[in-house]
C-alpha cells in the first residue's frame, strides 16, 4: 500500500514539475509547432507564383505531378495567355504553358517545363475536411513573390460544401471550401492545404463588398476532389465544360427536392426521370436541398455518367444518367474568345477604396447569362473571383508582343475547343500506342469475318470490309455501305446500329487515329466495365460519333459507343474476353446495349482477319 502511495505521490510530483516547466511552453505546443513548420515547409515547396509574360499581372498555382503539371485558376491564365513564367520557392523561374481549362469551375492546368522531378503536392480527400480544421493558403498575394518566396496565411475551414452561384456568365463554385485564411488578390489559383500540408483546394474567390477588394475573412477554394474528376479532361488540352442534368429541380413545400422541368431530349428523360420525381441521391450523395443538388451536380465534367436515385409513388429507382454540357460547344468557344479587360487596380499599398461605392453595379443583380433556377436562394452579396493584381506601371515590362522561344512554341497549338491541342495529340497517341502494343491491326486491312453465337441463341455472321460490311443475325440480314449516311443503316433492328458500330470500329483499328479522321482524346471518365477511370477517345466518321473507352491498366479497348443522333441512345459495345488472334489481343465477347437494355451478348467462335490485298 505504501509503495503504491509513493508511486502516485511521485507521479503527482513529476507531473506538477512537468506542468511548471510546461507553463513556459508545453512540449505538446512545441510538438504542434514543429508539425506545423514541417507541414508548411513541405507544402510551400510545391507552390508556384504565376507571372504573365505580357505584364498582365499574375497569380498563384501549385505543382501536382513531378513532371510539372500545375493547377491554377482559369481567371489567372485568361489574361496571361498560353505562355507564362512560374517561380517556385527553390528560387528558380520556370517557363510554363497552358494545358487545359475549366472556365466554369475556374480551374486551369498548366505545365512547368525543364524538370521531371518537381516537388509535387499530395492531393488530400477534400470530402473529409471539416469546419474548424486548420488550413493554410500559400501564394502570391499582391504579387509579393517577386523574391520567389511564397506567402503563407493560416486559418481555419469556415464552411464546407458551399454553393456559390455563377458570377457573371461563367464561374460557378460548387461544393467549395470556405476559409478565413487571408485570401487576397494574387492568391488566385494558389493552393489551400490542410494542417498536414496536403492539398485540399485551389483558392479563387472571395466575398468582398464594402471593404474593398481585399480579404474580409471569407475566401473560397475549389475542392480538390472536384478537380480530380476534371483532371483527365484538363490533361487533354481541352476547354472542359461542366455538366447539367437536362432537368431543373425545386424544393417542395415539405422540403423535398423535385424535378421541376425536364428536357424530353435529355438522357435523364430517356433513363426514366420525369417531372415531379423526387431526387434522393446523386453521384452517391444524399440530396436534401436544392443547393445540395447543385453541389452534387457541379463537380462533374460534361459527358460523365452519374448514378441518380429517384423516388416516384414511394418507390426508389436508380438510373445512370449521362450528363450534358452547361453550354453548347460553340457557345463555350465563343465565350472563350472574349478576353476580359483588366480591371482598374487598387495599388497594393492602398488596397481599400477611400469611400464605399454604393453606385457600383451590385453583383447580386441578375446578370445576363445567369441561369436562374427555381429554388434559388434569396439574393445576397455574391462572392467574386479575386482580381488579378497588376504591377505598378513603372515595374511593368512594356506591353510588347511576347516572343515565345521556338522549342516552346512547338508545344502550343491553338485550336477551336482546345486550350492547347498539343496535349490532346500527346494523350491520343499515348492511349493509341498502349492499345497498339496489345494488338496492331494496321496491316489487317482485308476483310474481317467474324462468326459467333448470341447468348440468347442464334447465329451471328459478320463480314467487315473497307467499303461495306454485311451481317446475318437471327433477326435478319444487315448491310452497311460507306457511301451512305450511317444513321440510315442501323440494322439489325433494335440494336441501335450494331453492324455500323462494328464497321466503324474496324476502320479505326485498321487505319489508326491519324488516318481515320477526326479523333481526339476526351480525357477520363467512369465506365461500367473499367475499374479505374477509362481513357476516352472520341472519333467522328460520317454522321457517327464513336466514344472509345480504354482500360488504363491493360491498354485494351473496353467499350465503344456509337452515337448517330444526339437525342437518341447510342449503340454501346462492351468488349471483353480478349484472346490472342495472330499475335493480337481481340475481344471475343461483345455485349450490345442500347440505353438500359441489353440487346444481346455475342460470343465470337471464329475470327478471321485478312491482311490488306496488295495493290497492283
Amino acid at each position: 500500500m505504501m509503495a503504491r502511495w509513493s508511486f502516485f505521490a511521485g507521479l503527482a510530483v513529476v507531473s506538477l514539475t512537468a506542468l511548471a516547466r510546461a507553463a513556459d511552453v508545453p512540449q505538446l505546443v512545441l510538438d504542434a509547432q514543429k508539425q506545423r513548420i514541417a507541414a508548411i515547409a513541405k507544402a510551400t515547396r510545391s507552390a508556384v507564383a504565376v507571372f504573365a509574360n505580357n505584364g498582365n499581372g499574375g497569380g498563384s498555382g501549385v505543382v501536382i505531378t513531378p513532371d510539372g503539371y500545375a493547377l491554377t485558376n482559369f481567371h489567372v491564365v485568361q489574361p496571361a495567355g498560353s505562355y507564362m513564367k512560374c517561380s517556385m520557392a527553390d528560387g528558380n523561374l520556370y517557363e510554363a504553358i497552358i494545358v487545359g481549362i475549366d472556365p466554369v469551375g475556374d480551374v486551369a492546368l498548366v505545365k512547368l517545363l525543364g524538370r521531371d522531378d518537381f516537388p509535387a503536392a499530395t492531393l488530400a480527400d477534400s470530402d473529409r475536411v471539416q469546419v474548424g480544421d486548420w488550413c493554410f493558403a500559400v501564394g502570391n498575394p499582391f504579387l509579393l513573390a517577386t523574391d520567389f518566396q511564397p506567402t503563407v496565411t493560416y486559418g481555419i475551414v469556415s464552411g464546407v460544401h458551399r454553393y456559390q452561384p455563377p458570377s457573371g456568365t461563367l464561374l460557378e463554385y460548387a461544393d467549395c471550401i470556405q476559409t478565413d485564411a487571408a485570401i487576397n488578390p494574387g492568391n488566385s489559383g494558389g493552393p489551400l492545404f490542410d494542417a498536414a500540408g496536403d492539398l485540399i483546394g485551389i483558392n479563387g474567390r472571395g466575398s468582398f463588398e464594402k471593404r474593398g477588394r481585399v480579404n474580409v475573412g471569407v475566401g473560397y477554394a475549389i475542392s480538390i476532389n472536384q478537380i480530380k474528376k476534371f483532371l483527365g479532361c484538363l490533361r487533354a488540352g481541352r476547354i472542359v465544360d461542366h455538366a447539367t442534368l437536362g432537368a431543373t429541380v425545386a424544393a417542395s413545400d415539405d422540403g423535398r427536392v423535385l424535378v421541376s422541368n425536364i428536357l424530353e431530349s435529355s438522357d435523364a428523360y430517356r433513363r426514366g426521370l420525369r417531372y415531379d420525381d423526387e431526387i434522393i441521391s446523386f453521384g452517391g450523395r444524399p440530396i436534401g436541398t436544392v443547393n445540395g443538388f447543385k453541389n452534387a451536380l457541379g463537380i462533374y465534367p460534361k459527358g460523365w455518367r452519374v448514378p441518380l436515385v429517384l423516388r416516384r409513388d414511394g418507390k426508389e429507382q436508380e438510373i445512370h444518367v449521362r450528363l450534358t454540357g452547361v453550354h453548347a460547344t460553340e457557345e463555350l468557344n465563343k465565350l472563350m474568345e472574349r478576353r476580359p479587360r483588366p480591371e482598374p487596380q487598387p495599388k497594393p499599398d492602398q488596397p481599400q477604396p477611400d469611400q464605399p461605392q454604393p453606385d457600383k453595379p451590385q453583383p447580386d443583380k441578375p446578370q445576363p447569362g445567369d441561369r436562374p433556377q427555381p429554388g434559388d436562394r434569396p439574393k445576397r452579396g455574391q462572392p467574386r473571383p479575386l482580381p488579378i493584381p497588376q504591377f505598378p506601371p513603372a515595374e511593368r515590362p512594356g506591353q510588347q508582343e511576347v516572343k515565345i522561344p521556338p522549342e516552346i512554341q512547338k508545344m502550343i497549338q491553338p485550336r477551336t475547343s482546345f486550350a492547347n491541342y498539343y496535349f490532346n495529340e500527346l494523350n491520343r497517341d499515348r492511349v493509341w500506342a498502349a492499345a497498339k502494343a496489345k494488338g496492331d491491326f494496321g496491316s489487317l486491312g482485308g476483310v474481317w469475318k467474324l462468326n459467333g453465337q448470341l447468348q440468347a441463341g442464334g447465329k451471328v455472321e459478320v463480314t467487315l470490309g473497307n467499303e461495306s460490311s454485311q451481317g446475318a443475325f437471327p433477326a435478319g440480314p444487315a448491310k452497311v455501305e460507306e457511301g451512305k449516311d450511317l444513321d440510315q443503316q442501323l440494322d439489325p433492328p433494335g440494336s441501335g446500329g450494331l453492324l455500323a458500330a462494328l464497321h466503324v470500329w474496324r476502320q479505326l483499328l485498321v487505319s489508326g487515329p491519324q488516318k481515320f479522321g477526326d479523333v481526339y482524346y476526351y480525357g477520363t471518365a467512369p465506365y461500367a466495365n473499367v475499374s479505374d477511370l477509362a481513357d476516352v477517345l472520341v472519333a467522328t466518321r460520317n454522321v457517327a460519333e464513336l466514344n472509345l473507352a480504354f482500360d488504363p491498366q491493360t491498354g485494351l479497348l473496353a467499350a465503344a459507343e456509337m452515337t448517330v443522333d444526339a437525342d437518341a441512345d447510342p449503340c454501346e459495345l462492351r468488349l471483353s474476353d480478349y484472346r490472342d488472334v495472330n499475335g493480337r489481343q481481340f475481344p471475343h465477347v461483345v455485349e450490345v446495349r442500347v440505353g438500359d437494355r441489353v440487346w444481346g451478348v455475342i460470343q465470337w467462335s471464329q475470327v478471321e482477319l485478312a491482311t490488306a490485298e496488295a495493290k497492283p
Binding site: F8, W134, I156, S158, N291, G381
Partner: protein, 338 residues
C-alpha cells in the same frame, strides 16, 4: 486512504488536462464547432435593397425558442424567417428590443431546442482565443451551417471612447477582435471561447467616419444579460396588450401632439417625424423633423400604425413619454397637452 484517493484524482486530472492541451495544441476545432452550430440561427427579414442585406445572424438562448440577435431594419418585417442549423424553418415573433444595446429577442415555437445559457456565458480577457459563428454574407441558407472564423480578443475597451468616430448607440465595453467577424449579415452571431462557451454577441457593422476603418467587435454577454431578461420579462414588449385594458374616452392623437409623421406606405413604416407644428406640445418638448420615435411610455412603437395605436390607449390628461433616436443619440421627452 483518503489521501491516496486525492492523489489518484489529481493524477487523472493532470492526465485529462494534458490530453486536453494536446487536443487544443494541434487538433481541429471541428468537435467544438459541431456542438455550437445547432444553437446558431440564420435570420431573414426586411431589406434586399442596395447595401441593405435582408439577413442577419442570431442564436438560441432558451429551449423554448428565444433567440438573441441585434436590433436592425431586418426585423422591420411582418415575416421574420428563422432557419435552424438543421434546416427547420420558423416564422419568428419579435419579443422586444433594447435601443441602448441595440439588441432584440425573437421567439419561435419550440421545445427542447439546443441553446446557450446566458448565465453560463464566460468573460474574456485580451489575448483569449475565440471562434465567431455567423451567417456573414448570407453564405448559408436552409440547412447549411453558419460560417466560423477564428481569432483572438485584442482588447477589451469602451466603444464610447470612439464617440463621433464610430456611429453606434451602444456605448459599453466591447471585445475588439483580430478576425474579420463583422461583415454584412454577421451581426447577431455568437462569439465563443475556443471551447465553444458563449462570450459575446457580434455587433453591427461599424466603420469609423474618421479613418474609414471597419471595427470587428463583440458585445460581452455580461453587458446585455439584463436587458435580455427585461425583454423576456415583458419590458419593451410591443405585443400582446391585455385585451381587457379599456381605451380612454379622449385619447392622445398625433395631430393633437403636433407631430406629423412620414407618409405611411410600408407595412411597417418606421415612425420618423416629418414635421412639428409650431407651438404644439411636440414643439415645446423639442422634437425635430427626422427624429425616430422608438417608444411610447416604454412600449415599443415599431411602425407609424402601431405608434398611432399606442396613443389611443393614453388619456389626454396624462403625459406622454417618448423615447426618440436623433442621429446616434437617444433622447427621452415628455409631452403634455395643456
Amino acid at each position: 486512504m483518503i489521501r491516496l484517493r486525492i492523489v489518484t484524482c489529481l493524477a487523472s486530472l493532470l492526465l485529462a488536462l494534458l490530453l486536453h492541451l494536446s487536443a487544443h495544441a494541434q487538433g481541429s476545432f471541428a468537435q467544438t464547432i459541431d456542438q455550437v452550430q445547432p444553437k446558431i440561427v440564420k435570420i431573414f427579414g426586411a431589406g434586399g435593397l442596395r447595401g441593405l442585406e435582408a439577413y442577419q445572424s442570431g442564436f438560441l438562448i432558451s429551449g423554448e425558442g428565444h433567440i438573441l440577435t441585434v436590433w436592425s431594419y431586418v426585423l422591420d418585417s411582418d415575416a421574420v424567417t428563422v432557419y435552424l442549423n438543421d434546416g427547420r424553418k420558423y416564422q419568428a415573433v419579435v419579443v422586444g428590443m433594447d435601443p441602448r444595446t441595440e439588441i432584440a429577442v425573437l421567439k419561435i415555437d419550440g421545445d427542447g431546442l439546443p441553446h446557450f445559457s446566458l448565465e453560463e456565458a464566460v468573460p474574456l480577457d485580451a489575448g483569449s482565443r475565440v471562434l465567431a459563428f455567423s451567417n456573414l454574407f448570407g453564405v448559408a441558407f436552409g440547412n447549411e451551417a453558419a460560417s466560423v472564423l477564428k481569432g483572438a480578443v485584442t482588447a477589451k475597451t469602451d466603444l464610447a471612447a470612439r464617440r463621433g468616430a464610430f456611429e453606434t448607440n451602444y456605448r459599453g465595453p466591447a471585445y475588439v477582435l483580430d478576425a474579420m467577424t463583422n461583415n454584412p449579415g454577421a451581426a447577431g452571431g455568437a462569439l465563443t471561447d475556443r471551447r465553444g462557451r458563449l462570450a459575446g454577441l457580434l455587433g453591427k457593422e461599424l466603420r469609423s467616419s474618421l479613418t474609414n476603418l471597419w471595427l470587428d467587435y463583440a458585445i460581452p454577454i455580461g453587458e446585455i444579460a439584463t436587458p435580455v431578461e427585461e425583454i423576456i420579462a415583458g419590458k419593451f414588449r410591443p405585443m400582446p396588450r391585455d385585451e381587457n385594458v379599456k381605451k380612454p374616452k379622449e385619447a392622445h392623437t398625433l395631430a393633437l401632439l403636433g407631430i406629423h409623421l412620414v407618409p405611411d406606405f410600408l407595412p411597417k413604416t418606421p415612425p420618423f417625424v416629418e414635421g412639428v407644428k409650431p407651438g404644439s406640445p411636440a414643439a415645446k418638448a423639442g422634437i425635430r423633423p427626422d427624429d425616430l420615435i422608438l417608444f411610447v411610455n416604454q412600449r415599443v412603437a415599431p411602425s407609424c400604425k402601431q405608434l398611432a395605436d399606442e396613443l389611443t390607449f393614453i388619456d389626454r390628461l396624462d403625459p406622454v413619454k417618448l423615447t426618440i433616436q436623433r442621429g446616434q443619440e437617444l433622447i427621452e421627452v415628455t409631452l403634455e397637452v395643456e
